[in-house]
């Protein structure tokens, strides 16, 4: 479980995060949603330590990440996995070498064990057969799956995903969503997904945090969104006329 307490982040004269407090639950897919510029990415960067909060606490199972020494933070990061928006695979390494990288760096396994573990991870994301290819030779969806395999190679307790569906077609997005959802439950990880994708929100959102102008505006599960009276949330989720009509139709059906 990750708990955020009264988190503020200021860049010179601009306050991007304004007192966010929330809990990201263990064994669930926690989604951070919000408009562009609302502070989602800044919040995630503060969680993983790529940025330091101006004030507030980030507690990993009760341990304050912000107050930790550099060395403790490095140790803590070995319990984290992260999937970046651009996948961030190492260009010079093959798919297999990318997945093996964290194992090569931090595990005491033999070469054969590391290779077997990496192949297991690739199998989990349905990428067996692509292990000798390089990131430039595979599609965006495959790159995301390699990034997932690399992120889970060391069995992390916390998994962070920064817009994992960006740039992917709806079908591939569903595959990625199902993978993340499945992995979260299988390994009982605390997964935090930063997303704009409404399919993800409605499909795998077990704990959704809506950020508006640097503040937590709403928190709940996907089934509560339909009935929510929060105008900012519904304007954001049901932005198009088609979605608005669908929502009204579903609400009518439910009340009837």
């Amino acid at each position: 479980m990750i708990e955020v307490r009264d988190l503020y982040k200021r860049f010179e004269d601009k306050e991007v995060l304004r007192g966010i407090s929330t809990v990201f639950e263990n064994g669930k897919t926690n989604l951070i949603i919000g408009q562009s510029g609302s502070g989602k990415t800044v919040l995630m960067k503060n969680l993983v330590g790529l940025l330091t909060p101006t004030s507030g606490q980030v507690l990993y199972d009760g341990r304050d990440f912000v107050a930790m020494s550099k060395h403790e933070q490095v140790m803590m990061r070995r319990e984290m996995g992260m999937i970046f928006q651009s996948a961030a695979l190492f260009d010079s390494l093959s798919v297999l070498e990318n997945v093996m990288f964290p194992l090569d760096m931090f595990s005491d396994m033999t070469q054969r064990e590391r290779q077997r573990r990496a192949m297991d991870c690739l199998d989990r994301v349905n990428l067996v057969g692509a292990e000798q290819k390089y990131p430039g030779e595979i599609s965006g969806g495959m790159q995301k799956r390699v990034a997932i395999a690399r992120a889970i190679a060391l069995n992390p307790k916390y998994l962070f995903c920064d817009e994992p569906n960006s740039g992917l077609d709806p079908k591939t997005s569903l595959v990625i969503d199902e993978l993340l959802h499945g992995i979260t439950h299988e390994f009982q990880m605390t997964t935090i997904i930063n997303t704009h994708d409404m399919n993800s929100v409605m499909g795998i959102g077990e704990n959704i945090i809506f950020i508006y102008e640097g503040q937590k505006e709403w928190q709940g599960v996907s089934s509560q969104i339909m009935d929510s009276d929060n105008r900012r949330l519904t304007d954001f989720i049901f932005a198009s006329d088609l979605l608005k009509e669908m929502r009204q139709a579903i609400r009518k059906e439910t009340t009837a």
């Binding site: 651009s86 260009d91 990288f101 760096m105």
Partner: protein
Amino acid sequence: MFIEKWLEAFGRYLILMSRTFSVPERFRMFWKQYVKEMSQLGVDSIGIVLLISFFIGAVICIQMKVNIESPWMPRWVAGYTTREIMLLEFSSSIMCLILAGKVGSSIASELGTMRVTQQIDALEIMGVNSASYLILPKILGLLTLMPFLVIFSSATGILGAYGTAYIGHIIAPDDLTVGLQHDFVPWFLWMSIIKSQFFAFIISSVPAYFGYTVEGGSVGVGKSSTDAVVTSSVLILFSDVFLTQLLS
């Protein structure tokens, strides 16, 4: 304002170097990177070093023969000056200026691209000291191979001078040989190698700083690559003056 900016950049460079020079997390991984960098930065530069050194050696010899030699000068003077110029300046300083363009831009653009595509962030999230993992093997790899490049450059420059003698018939080979052997000071070779070590550090660490701290997208990477080459070239020229004074 300019001094303040420069001091800030220098401070950030020192902080980056302090992170870079830390004990590698895994020697197995460090060794792999170190060998790779020696190959990419050093071995892959041998071709251009040999090519340029050969022709510069030949041209220096021709210029000396045509413009310096006179009835009042010994006939070996062209060979002697060619050797001294190659050894004292070309094979260390000028060759490093050329390498600052080739190796420096390569380091800055590689690290810059890794930064903008979040590959460096990915390393940090894994708990890897990205500065040490990425930059230390580059610095040590180039420092290791630089003495060989200096020796190869001097030797090839002299071969180029022999080319003018045997192929161009500009100078008699015997006169050239006498000149090349005349009053040889072994310290000059060491001086050249010592200077090149300082320059190798500049060529690898300064572009690494520019690449590692890049901001923005592809434009930022391009700018960092240009800044890296310009800054390391200027630093090489400045330090050449001080090192030559210090070591002579």
